[in-house]
Symmetry: C2
Subunit: 259 residues, 2 copies
């Protein structure tokens, strides 16, 4: 049986914070045919609000350390303001969006990360995606918009890497669909020279990835992103692209990750 | 055709903020048989966070004046933290909750209130409830949990009176169900003497309401609540009760509003 294509799109904080870029992206997004899912993080907004409330934000290896206060701020900004404003904007464009976090319909169940060398705090690693729930929304013609927050089976909300949320959803939905994964972030793609936006590496396979790692081209935030990509390709995702806010328009320079 | 009963329960900010009372309520709530909907406000949490962020909160006639900053805080706290923690707690109790605001699935469409004597700011008066969307969730065995935020047809989020959200949902759903409306708040019911929690007026009809208004027993927050009640009774709601966090347990003293 030929499976229908399902597009899973992750947008990063920098895109969300730029009104013009966000609107350009949303117009590309609503033009996409067929079932689709949007996943968003929040980035600096949580950090800024935490700072105003007198909470400090710590990062290690591109991942946030989430104490009780920062979890609250993250849920407020990601699942609250950002999620609902995006849903409102999509509804205004006649796209029937529904904003969710992992607790809603037990859609993204995770386990609190065990304390090893680093205590990440209230951070979740995804265990299961409720594919039948997500599929029922897609079949009803709805467009799920997920904030990067998961939930333990005991109902505890946990901060979760947005790239992982997108990858896990795409991988799990491969039971029912042929998923494609799109990461839209602040750059034109994976760059050979971080100071030059034109130096996009158009194709990366495992060999090339090894080289880039060795040459330290890939660092910080890009590292978990690419790790997720190769795992996703092994687990049923058919296509992965990384690029800027116009990635979905197909005209922009971008990186494609291949097996 | 005999319609199925649908219970619509509104909980207020004071109940939400008290961990013990909230948990007692949630246990009563999950024990309710049949389709049900939860509506919550947020109360003091938004005010406190707004204050910490340096924003002032204004109230007139028990209704919040919502400027751009306070809208942001309200969406963050109501649709973000409060909504998602309640959904998490319900999921932990095996209740398949889904947290929504009016933008999600165009569920609660409102119009921005016109400026008359008072400019309420980003405040919405409800125009339509998407009954088929809400019904599809109920039919799938889900429990919608609404934060008191609506959305214009142009996708603008608006702060909305939580009692009105509950009443409008109940009235609209009367097409398909026989709705009952429960308002749980900080008191045992409508009190003849506000200083005496035992002075609950057990039944209020329109005549009694007129008397209470004249004698100024009903003031501030209680005024729109009771106005909503009588409108709801005229428009298809079969039963309305007001009481404390144990109202659903049926053992507690409470007020019933009758035609």
């Amino acid at each position: 049986m030929i499976k229908e294509t399902l597009k899973v799109i992750k947008i990063g904080g920098k895109l969300i914070e730029d009104e013009t870029k966000l609107q350009a992206f949303l117009l590309d997004f609503i033009a996409l045919q067929g079932p689709k899912i949007l996943v968003h993080g929040g980035g600096n907004m949580a950090t800024e609000i935490a700072a105003k409330l007198g909470f400090e934000t710590k990062m290690i290896d591109g991942r946030r350390i989430t104490d009780e206060n920062s979890l609250k701020v993250i849920v407020m900004t990601y699942a609250g303001w950002i999620n609902k404003t995006i849903v409102g904007k999509l509804q205004a464009l006649n796209c029937n969006a529904i904003g969710l976090c992992g607790a809603d319909g037990r859609s993204i169940i995770s386990k609190k990360r065990k304390v090893a060398e680093i205590d990440f705090g209230f951070v979740g690693d995804i265990e299961t995606i409720n594919t039948s729930f997500i599929n029922s929304l897609l079949k009803a013609g709805m467009v799920p918009v997920f904030s990067a927050i998961s939930c333990t089976s005991e109902g505890e909300l946990l901060n979760t890497n947005g790239d992982s949320v997108a990858a896990e959803i795409a991988m799990s939905m491969s039971e029912l669909y042929e998923p494609q994964l799109f990461y839209l972030f602040g750059k034109n793609g994976v760059l050979a020279d971080v100071t030059n936006e034109e130096s996009v590496i158009e194709h990366i396979d495992r060999n090339k990835y090894g080289e880039l790692l060795k040459d330290k081209v890939i660092t910080e935030g890009m590292l978990p992103k690419l790790q997720n990509c190769f795992e996703a390709l092994e687990k049923g995702v058919s296509k992965i692209c990384l690029g800027n806010e116009r990635l979905l328009s197909k005209t922009s320079l971008h990186t494609e990750i291949v097996k």
